[in-house]
Symmetry: C2
Subunit: 162 residues, 2 copies
C-alpha cells in the first residue's frame, strides 16, 4: 500500500517494529557477527534482535530473539532506548533496544550469525553496524530510556538523540 | 498493501506508532473528553496523544501532541508503558504511554476534545476508553517501563501485561 493509499484508508504512517538486545558479562558485550549472506549488514557486528510478531510485546520479542539466535535464556532485560528510523519511503522502523546481564552458559550460533563476546574497549576495532559507535556508549551508561531519530537518505545516516 | 504482499516485498508486519500522555497535578489527572464527532471513542475520556510522524521520536511526538491538544508545554515526561495492540488485520498499533507533572497554567481545548482535570478517585465514574481501568492504576505506580499486549477481536479486548 502506497503512502497516499494508506492515508485514504485512514491508516497513516506505519513502522516495522524491531528489537535489538545487548548482553553484558564483566567488561564484555555479546555481538552477533551477521551471516555473510544476510540481506542487510552482511558480516557486520550488531546486537541480537529481529521483528516483533503480532501478539508479542517488545519485551517478549527480545527474549524470543535472544533464545532463537543464541540459545540463551535471560531472566530480565531493561529497555534502554527507543529509536525511530525514518526511511526515504514508508514504512519506517521503530527499534526497541534492551540491555541485560548474560546468564551462565555459552551462546550458540544460528542462521542469523555467530555470537561473539567482545571486550567493550575492543569494539572500535570491529566492523560494527553504522550507528553503534554513537549508540553503544550511551546505552552502556545508566540513565532513563533514551530516544533517538535516525534519518536514512541517499546522503547516508543522520542520527539525532533527544 | 495486504499482509501477503508485504511479506513478498520483504516488509513484514507493521504497526501504527502512537503516543498517549497522562499529566498529573496533586491528586488529579488530565483527561481528554473525546469530541462527539471523533471516529474512535467519541465522548470517551482518554489521555492526550496521537500519531507519530516521520522524523519524530515518540518523546518529541508526545510533547507536540500535548501542545497541540492542550496548549501545555511540559519540561519532561517519563516513558511508563509500551503497548502492542494486535488487530484482526494488520497493521497493529504500538502505543508509547508517558506520564508527567503538569506545568503551571490551564489547558485549552482543541478539535480533538476538551481537557478536564479529574480526581484520580473519581476516574471510575467516567466513561473511560476501555483499557484505562486496568492500565491507569499500573501507570500511576512508580516502577520500570511496563509492557503489555492487547488483542482486539470480535469478542472484544483482551489485555495481557508482561
Amino acid at each position: 500500500m502506497r503512502p497516499d493509499d494508506q492515508r485514504r484508508a485512514g491508516i497513516g504512517y506505519t513502522v516495522v517494529p524491531r528489537t535489538l538486545v545487548f548482553l553484558t558479562r564483566d567488561d564484555q558485550i555479546l555481538m552477533l557477527q551477521g551471516a555473510p549472506d544476510k540481506r542487510l549488514w552482511a558480516g557486520k557486528y550488531n546486537g541480537i534482535g529481529g521483528h516483533l510478531e503480532p501478539g508479542e510485546s517488545p519485551y517478549r520479542s527480545a527474549l524470543r530473539e535472544l533464545r532463537e539466535e543464541t540459545g540463551l535464556v535471560v531472566e530480565s532485560l531493561a529497555l534502554r532506548a527507543v529509536i525511530h528510523i525514518t526511511l526515504p519511503t514508508p514504512p519506517g522502523v521503530v527499534l526497541f533496544v534492551f540491555l541485560g546481564a548474560a546468564p551462565v552458559g555459552e551462546p550458540t550460533e544460528s542462521d542469523e550469525g555467530i555470537p561473539v563476546w567482545v571486550e567493550v574497549t575492543a569494539l572500535s576495532e570491529l566492523p560494527l553496524v553504522e550507528d553503534l559507535p554513537e549508540l553503544l556508549p550511551r546505552l552502556l551508561e545508566p540513565g532513563p530510556v533514551l530516544f533517538a531519530t535516525y534519518f536514512v537518505s541517499d546522503e547516508g545516516l543522520e542520527i539525532r538523540f533527544d
